[in-house]
Structures are given as structure tokens and as C-alpha cells.
Symmetry: C2
């Protein structure tokens, strides 16, 4: 009877105890050098382990669920999660109420913090695998932004051939992260560089430059207080693009400039693209659209100042309008992307729609989206 209450209490509090686990765990590919834990098995379960001899309660906190870990006679706690979707997930450990990174993993910025990540192997991990192919450079560019009065940073991918063709100029994709993430997302857990290295080697994508900046940009705080104004569009147009066109060998026209983003970044980049069709000819929205979070029918007269009102004009100007979504994404994403697609169809606007099988609002959806989208650019 006591056990029934305990199980019920655990269930109600969102705590699960994993059972019937397949014992074929291997260390995660994003562990720190030499670290054996965390591990992942063929079901996609995550097994974490940490030495905490004096602790009373240690939990693995992943995918919004806390899993109880169990202590052995040496004070080492071990526990595993339910099977997780393939791809990359942020997670943490909880030691006697302290939420901390797992000391076994490398750290990634997401969910508004630098914290642990885990990689669940996918059948298509080939697309972002590190292979013995020519590798482009990922360059960190620090710059002072006059608009925000702050130092900012972007990462710039240049394809492997860039250094060997000193006269050649390249098209540019501006690629943005999501909310509570930063400019490290795409070159880090997103593997934008590996995806492009592999595509370019296979002749499936045109060699291109990719610029990954930080989507959070605010006017300097005034003494009056209040919430500072978001000025990312202004920074993108007046600071980032001119800097990239100056410091890299770009083809600086709209036909050779694409923009894309995931989630919040999809919303931001759609606005930037539609407000500046003289600057961009390709748009990619990964798990997001600018009508987010609404699922209501879109009023084309008012939405983005009527940018989609003239469907023929949009078709003439945008060479590829691309949307992607994971099949397991929660609302409001399917609803708002669905409402957006309805609008596009009603307006007769051509677009490409991709569904990432069995993935949610996470990086595997976005890696696949970039892999699909990049193949259509600048052709």
C-alpha cells in the first residue's frame, strides 16, 4: 500500500523511474574527454552517473521530467531516463535541490544557460557527422556595435575552398538561433559547418559563407528605465551585413544573400526578409513564422504591413521560400505554421515545406532543416 502511494506521488510530481532498460549503453558523443558518463542506449535512454556520497537525493532532469537516481555503496548515483528523441537535448542534474551541469558533458548555451547536452544517435547523423572531407573555417568575429553600444560577436563559416581561391567571391546565408540561445548554437550543437562541409563535398550545395550572429540586440538602456527596444533588424542591416561584405569576399547583392532562422530566429528573419526584399532573395523558417504564436487565419492586409498581399510579387522576388517543422512539435508551432501555410496557399505563393520525422522543437529538426534548405540556395 505504501508503495502504491509512493508511485502515485512520484507520478503526480512528474518524477519517473525508468524500468526494463536495454543494457547496451555507450558514452555520449558530446562527453568531456575521457568521461564515461552520461551514456545512451539503443532505445535512446540517457544514463547519468555522479559521485555524491553525502547527498540524499539526486535526479536527472531532461525533457521536462526529473528521473530519480539511485546511490550505490560507494556514494555513486546512477539513473536513467525514458527514451528520448534522436538528436541533441539540453539537460541538467539536481543534487539535493541544486540544479547543476553534469560534470561529464561538454557545455552548450540553450534554455538561457550554459549547461549540459546529450546526443542521441540518429539514423541520419551522417548529415552532420565529422568526416575526413575538406573542412571550412569557423571564425569568431568580435565587433563593437554603435547601435547597441556593446561588444557583439558572430561566427562566420567560410567553405574549405575559400582560402585557395583568393579571387573568388561567395554568396552568404545569415542563419539565426532561437530564443534563450545565442550565436554559439549553430556552430556548436547545430553543426552548421559540418552540414555544409559534407554537402559541399558531395556537390549538393554551392560553396557559401554562413554568418551566425546573436539575435538579442537592444538599444542602450535609458535612464527612464522600461524595457529596452529590440533592434536586431537595424543591427543586421546597418552593422552586420556591411561588416561581412567588407571583411569577407561576398557577392553583395540580393540574389546572393539568404536569411534563415529557427523558432524566434524564424520569426525575426521573416520580418527582416520581408521588410528588405532589396537585400534578400531566399528565406528559410525552421519551426517558426512571424504570426507566432497565433493559429488564427492571417489577415494579409495587415500582416507584416501587407508584405504577402501581392502573391505574384512575392513569387517574383523570393527565389526559395522554405518552411520546416518537426512532426512531434507541440502547439503553438504546428498551428501557427499551419495558419501561415494556409495564407501562402491562398495567396498563390510558392514555397517548400519539409517535415522532420519524429522530432520536436529541438536541434535535430533544425539540423535537418538546414541540410534541406542549404541544397536549394544560390542555384
Amino acid at each position: 500500500m505504501k508503495n502504491i502511494f509512493l508511485i502515485a506521488a512520484l507520478f503526480i510530481s512528474g518524477i519517473c523511474v525508468a524500468q526494463d532498460v536495454v543494457e547496451d549503453f555507450q558514452p555520449s558523443s558530446v562527453n568531456q574527454p575521457g568521461k564515461q558518463y552520461p551514456q545512451v542506449n539503443s532505445e535512446g535512454r540517457v544514463r547519468a552517473q555522479i559521485s555524491a556520497p553525502e547527498a540524499n537525493n539526486v535526479r536527472l532532469d531532461i525533457g521536462g521530467v526529473k528521473y530519480e537516481m539511485v546511490k550505490d555503496e560507494n556514494g555513486v548515483w546512477t539513473g536513467e531516463s525514458e527514451p528520448q528523441d534522436v538528436g541533441f537535448h539540453y539537460y541538467q542534474l539536481n543534487v539535493d535541490g541544486a540544479s547543476v551541469p553534469d560534470p561529464g558533458t561538454k557545455y552548450f548555451y540553450g534554455a538561457g544557460r550554459w549547461g549540459s547536452g546529450i546526443e542521441i544517435p540518429a539514423d541520419d547523423s551522417n548529415i552532420y557527422a565529422l568526416k575526413d572531407v575538406p573542412h571550412g573555417l569557423v571564425s569568431e568575429q568580435t565587433y563593437f556595435s554603435e547601435i547597441t553600444q556593446s561588444f557583439r560577436r558572430c561566427f562566420v563559416y567560410t567553405p574549405a575552398e575559400y582560402a585557395e581561391n583568393p579571387e573568388k567571391r561567395y554568396p552568404v546565408l545569415y542563419l539565426q538561433h532561437g530564443s534563450f540561445e545565442d550565436e554559439t548554437g549553430w556552430p556548436g550543437q547545430g553543426h552548421a559547418n559540418r552540414i555544409l562541409d559534407n554537402l559541399i563535398t558531395a556537390n549538393k550545395a554551392v560553396p557559401m559563407i554562413i554568418v551566425m550572429d546573436n539575435g538579442y540586440a537592444y538599444k542602450p538602456q535609458t535612464s527612464g528605465g522600461g524595457r529596452p527596444a529590440m533592434v536586431f533588424e537595424e543591427v543586421m542591416l546597418n552593422e552586420i551585413i556591411p561588416m561581412i561584405d567588407k571583411r569577407f569576399r561576398t557577392i553583395a547583392d540580393r540574389e546572393h544573400r539568404a536569411i534563415a532562422g529557427l523558432s524566434m530566429g524564424a520569426n525575426q528573419t521573416m520580418r527582416i526578409c520581408m521588410n528588405n526584399l532589396d537585400k534578400f532573395a531566399y528565406y528559410g523558417g525552421f519551426s517558426g513564422t512571424s504570426n507566432y504564436p497565433s493559429s488564427d487565419e492571417i489577415n494579409v492586409e495587415t500582416f507584416l504591413n501587407g508584405a504577402f498581399k501581392n502573391g505574384k510579387s512575392v513569387n517574383d522576388q523570393i527565389k526559395v521560400f522554405w518552411l520546416g517543422l518537426g512532426t512531434k512539435e507541440p502547439e503553438p508551432f504546428p498551428g501557427s505554421v499551419g495558419a501561415f501555410r494556409n495564407m501562402l496557399e491562398k495567396q498563390g505563393i510558392d514555397y517548400v515545406y519539409y517535415e522532420s520525422p519524429e522530432t520536436a522543437h529541438e536541434w535535430q529538426t533544425w539540423r535537418r532543416s538546414l541540410h534541406q534548405y542549404a541544397q536549394l540556395l544560390f542555384k
Copy 2:
């Protein structure tokens, strides 16, 4: 009486309780965005804070000492260290026996792990401060090493003017990290890029390329087992230098190639330099020499195969032979560097010796060393 025993026990076990603390703490400059803790005061004390409502014992573990933290009524633990030296230090928290990174800081690789770091402001932080000056690029180059049969990575600093002078070629400094660190040390906590950006802007250093690779390189493990052979010299000469000379606009001769390293890296790079004087004309040893850990008199007949036997020949070939050490470094560093200097003097070999005031075997010594050394290169 009980308290006396407790204090004695704490003292014996290396646990300290800080007292008489100056209350002018500010968040550390390497905290995660928006995080208020850890903080540092004008004495250089570190104050850490973490919510751990169910914990019995939380400690701040820094500089080889564990400091007890104290819990408040909300389950938040706070505690501070004794004053620390200026500059960067690795540290961790200990929650009921679990050694974990502090969730308040960004993470750095050192002490053989990705973990927390803290920055104690220094009077000369100006040398590595992020300023509104032209910023060079820090580029991540992934490559497959045939020698080690593994993927490796280096970071390459190119000065701000590099992109704007497409015909100009540059000298190269190969700059190595210490033991239990990796290629992220110099572009991360070492701030090699900022130090050079500031020096180049002030016309105190020649614009140069800096290559920061990983000093750990082993032959692939054979089935026979045993410890794999260290082959960093082979990787440096046959893979890294040719790759850099191919992919970057270098001046590929000995007069335009320098090598330096810290601690283990000083030892490694001295061997590489002296074994390959046809490749390098500048050497920098930061807190290390190849006679480490010995303080014994050096036998010039046998040391590094007699590389220092002919002092005049060394003087003719090496344009700058540079050594640096912190005044607070523990043995065996002062002893072995001292024995090495005695040998140089006996052989009549010219060298520059720098002492970093009031710093130990840590990054502030090495930032200052790079700042001094870089000013003497390629002139």
C-alpha cells in the same frame, strides 16, 4: 572546547572559513549572461552562491582549498574564499560530496575538465581588455591527422588587417597551452587575440598570425596495449605547419616563425624549436623549460642532444630566446627555470627574462608573458 576541536579539524582537513570580508563584491566578468554570482571583492575574495535547499554541506573549492558555505532560510548557500591572486582561476563547487561546475559561470577547459572559472580584476587587465579597436578573427580549423589517425583542431588568430590586405603575407607564432589544458586555453582564458589586437593597434607588435593547437597527440593505440607514443613534434612539423602555410598567407621561413608555450607547452616547444632550428628563429618559454622538473645543473653535452653546447651558434640562430616566470610560482618551476638560466649564462647565450609580479603558475603570468614576448617578435 568543542569549537577548538572543530577549528583544528577544519584546519587539518584544509577547510577554511573566511572572515572580516570587505562588502564591495561585484559579479565576475566571466559569469553567464545575467548571473549575479559568483562575485569578487576588492580584496580578491570569491563569493559563490547556489540554491540547494536539501543539501547538508556545500563548499567552494578554489586554489586547492575548500571553503564552507552557509545556508539561509530559503535554502540558498553562500560563502567566500580567502583573497586570490589577480587573474583567472579554475574552481568548482562541492554539493554534498558532488564536485560540480558552478552554474553561474561560463566554462573553461583546464585541470583536465570543462569547469568554472573566475576572474580577479588586475591593475594591468588593460593588456587583455576587450576594447573598441580593430579585432582580428579567431578561426577554428578542424583537420584529420594521418599521424594520430584522429580529428584535431586548432584556433588561428589573424590580425584585423589580414582581410584588407589580400596580397600581404604574415609571420606566424605557434603558441601552446599547458598540461591538462587544450587548444581553447589561449583564445579563451588566455585572451591571446585581445592581447594582440591591443598591441597591434598601439603599434607595439607586428601584425602576425597565431596558431593555437592541442599539445596532446598520440600514435594510434596498437593492439599490444601500453602507453601510446607522444608525437606532437611530428604533428607540428608534418601536419600543422604545412596546413597553416597552405591555408593562410604566411611568410613560410624560419625568420618569420616563432614558437612558444606555457608550462608543459614551454617544455614541448623548446624541444621542437631546438630540434628544428631550420624552422624557428624565436622561442618563448612561459613558466617552463625542457629540464623540468629537475633543478640540477644541466649537462650541456647531453641536454636536448647538446643543442645548447655551442652558445655562439644558438645566439646566431635564435633572434629572441625568451623566458618568463611568476614571482609566486611554486617549486619545481623556479628551481628548474633557474637551473636553465644558469646554463644559458654559462654558455653565453643571450636571453630575455621576465618576472610576472605576484602571480603563480596561472594564466595571469602567461597573459603577461605573451604581452611581453609578442612585442619582441619579427622586428
